[in-house]
């Protein structure tokens, strides 16, 4: 072992977090790694399914994509989808009553969609206007909605009831409204675009199922996801 990258993580592995409940009987020592997880058996089955899906389908496709395209092209793809995400960031900034967040996303979208050639280049970022991701799960959290039970979604991975609702709103309800409906009509003309977006997201995500080698990886991921979202809401 060497410490640097692992230490923080090791330290992160257990802790108290708001809106969680211990799983154990009161007599046993209660460590707060126990995030509220009433559907744990189902979640663990889905976790296992995700690991297999990742290994036999998703990652091979991602590797093919990485092999096929030169790195600069991959970065343009990432940049393109990231730019479309500004619509979500702006909408949620508004819903959170944070005009500075909404206007930042709007400026970024305006600059990158034009000067940045339809989002292929992050010109706004180069000028110092950095992206701040906001989704509907964070919006709910901002208004005091607690996590609810931890949920592992098929393929998408760690979530909770609040964030799952958020995802449904972001990808369902909001896509019916302008300007998303226009983007859907103009960009997502073919299911392959959704596929490309999914591949790009997996390509950017360095997580590998069972990469930690720890038998308690499920617990660690569950805890870190919960803690990370807690900070995302505060951000």
């Amino acid at each position: 072992m060497r410490f640097p990258a692992t230490t923080a993580l090791a330290a992160l592995t257990l802790s108290a977090c708001a809106g969680t409940a211990p799983l154990e009987a009161p007599s046993a020592p209660v460590y707060p790694i126990a995030v509220y997880d009433p559907f744990e058996p189902v979640n663990r089955s889905i976790y296992r399914f995700n690991a297999s899906f990742d290994r036999y389908i998703f990652l091979p496709v991602v590797r093919g994509y990485e092999w096929l395209l030169p790195d600069p092209v991959e970065r343009r793809v990432s940049s393109f989808f990231s730019n479309l995400g500004e619509i979500r960031n702006a909408a949620n900034g508004l819903l959170q009553a944070r005009p500075e967040v909404a206007s930042r996303a709007t400026i970024r979208f305006a600059v990158n969609s034009t000067v940045g050639l339809l989002g292929l280049f992050d010109v706004a970022g180069a000028m110092g206007v950095e992206q701040q991701r906001e989704d509907f799960g964070q919006t709910l959290g901002r208004w005091g909605v607690s996590n609810g039970p931890y949920i592992v979604l098929p393929i998408l991975g760690p979530s909770n009831l609040r964030d799952t609702t958020g995802t449904v709103v972001d990808r369902g309800v909001m896509t019916q409204l302008p300007p998303w409906d226009i983007v859907i009509d103009e960009v997502y003309v073919n299911p392959a675009v959704y596929g490309l977006e999914a591949v790009d997201e997996r390509h950017l995500n360095p997580f590998r199922y069972y990469g930690t080698g720890s038998p308690f990886e499920y617990e660690y991921v569950r805890y870190l996801y919960t803690k990370k979202r807690e900070f995302d809401v505060k951000r």
């Binding site: 923080a8 992206q131 701040q132």
Partner: protein
């Protein structure tokens, strides 16, 4: 585990890079000579060597070997199909060095990768082998699945290395074999080298032990004590410690948007939080306790339970393991030896003698071999935290000029340091 941290805290949008670096306050002295801080943080930037990078598209290969193809494995470990290794390939013919990981390390742990890069810079093909204490090794490559007995671990490692070599195949132009190991892997390397002197499958030309424990039991007692001194049997203190640290790291994340927990982030976190020795000790103690827990739980389950998992109550892949994680926190390395390891080997062998078993946990067990093995060297640090008083003297007496002592670095905290990387190259004769 770094990848996991990176994901967990990475902004989930496309641009996952650090937004801006937090400045290091003026006049802050980075801890070159603080062994606890070096153990946690590694090498300060100013002292770092340029190291080659690995890339799965060109010079790095990952592989997996099945050692016991017919072994039935508890359902919880369904994913552990074979032993993983990494191979970093040179473009032409070169010697090949095997590296054995430290306590709990996989074939791609952070420390392992750093040492591999140093060895690769010295011009060798490098193959990483997980520590026999790594859960994946216990499940798939250990004959007894109860690690720590150095002569038996050495046989497991030797078998694994031969399997890996045959998996790599004859196309890799190898001009000779070398061996290295760090931390517990250093002690393993000594026992593997001795085995190779009899078996001669590899005929190692050079063997290097980096920061090895001299007595495994006294080293783990030092690490156990770091946990026990601060957090012993008190979930509330564990909670408070982690909660505080987590919230402070979270504040840094909010401030900087920086989410990848690499060494530089930790340096800035260190600069900001200025943890005292107690905190660093607690962190190191907790880190090793979690590794001990992974190892004990795996060994326990593989041998039918009774130590952490109740006998006959094998969890399935949908069972919650959280209670075992919590229970394991109060079980030290020493508990593992006393309550799982000794009873297991005693039950297996009626002539088992505890004194003899303790001797097997020391480098002194292979002292005659160490004395005469001219091809074997040791690197350690004067301030290595896992050495007990007298250990360094023992190494000096036994190894003589084949011992190289660095003044600073704590435990494994100088893998990236120029002086260390240069010494690697000199030792392996690049």
């Amino acid at each position: 585990m770094a990848g996991l941290a990176a994901v967990a805290l990475a902004p989930s949008g496309a641009m996952g890079q650090a937004l801006e670096a937090l400045p290091i306050p003026e006049g802050l002295r980075l801890p070159v000579d603080d062994p606890l801080a070096r153990t946690v943080l590694g090498t300060p930037e100013a002292l770092r060597a340029e190291l080659p990078v690995f890339d799965l598209d060109s010079n790095l290969r990952a592989g997996r070997v099945k050692i016991f193809p017919d072994r039935k494995v508890p359902e919880v470990f369904w994913y552990a199909e074979g032993l993983e290794y990494l191979l970093a390939e040179q473009p032409g013919p070169a010697p090949l060095v095997f590296v054995i990981g430290g306590t709990g390390s996989s074939a791609h742990g952070d420390g392992m990768i750093l040492l591999m890069r140093g060895l690769y810079a010295a011009g060798m093909h490098v193959v990483s082998i997980a520590s026999p204490t790594f859960p994946g090794f216990i499940v798939s490559a250990s004959e007894t699945s109860v690690p720590g007995r150095l002569p038996e671990d050495a046989e497991d490692l030797y078998r694994a290395m031969m399997a890996v070599l045959s998996d790599i195949g004859p196309l890799l132009p190898v001009t000779g074999f070398r061996l290295a190991g760090y931390s517990l892997g250093g002690a393993h390397a000594a026992f593997v080298a001795k085995l190779d002197a009899q078996e001669r499958a590899f005929n190692f030309e050079k063997v290097l032990l980096v920061n090895p424990p001299v007595d495994l039991l006294s080293s783990v007692q030092i690490l156990d004590a770091m946990f026990d001194r601060h957090l012993r049997d008190d979930p509330q203190r564990v909670n408070l410690f982690i909660e505080r640290l987590m919230n402070e790291l979270g504040e840094l994340y909010l401030e900087s948007g920086e989410a990848v927990f690499d060494g530089d982030f930790l340096y800035r976190a260190y600069a900001r939080l200025t943890p005292d020795d107690d905190r660093l000790e607690t962190l190191i103690g907790l880190y090793f306790r979690l590794l001990a827990n992974d190892m004990s739980f795996t060994a326990d389950l593989m041998t039918g339970g009774g130590y952490i998992v109740p006998r006959g109550r094998e969890p399935g892949f949908t069972s919650s393991l959280t209670p075992y994680l919590a229970r394991g926190l109060s079980r030290s390395f020493e508990d593992y030896f006393e309550e799982l390891y000794f009873p297991f080997y005693k039950a297996r062998d009626p002539d088992f003698d505890q004194q003899e078993a303790l001797a097997e946990l020391r480098l002194a067990h292979v002292e005659p071999f160490l004395r005469q093995a001219r091809h074997l060297g040791v690197f350690t640090n004067r301030d290595d935290i896992i050495l007990a008083p007298g250990d360094l003297d023992w190494l000096e007496r036994v190894m003589g000029p084949r011992l190289r002592v660095f003044e600073h670095g704590g435990h494994l905290g100088n893998f990236q340091e120029r002086a260390f990387v240069d010494a690697l190259a000199a030792f392996f004769g690049a």
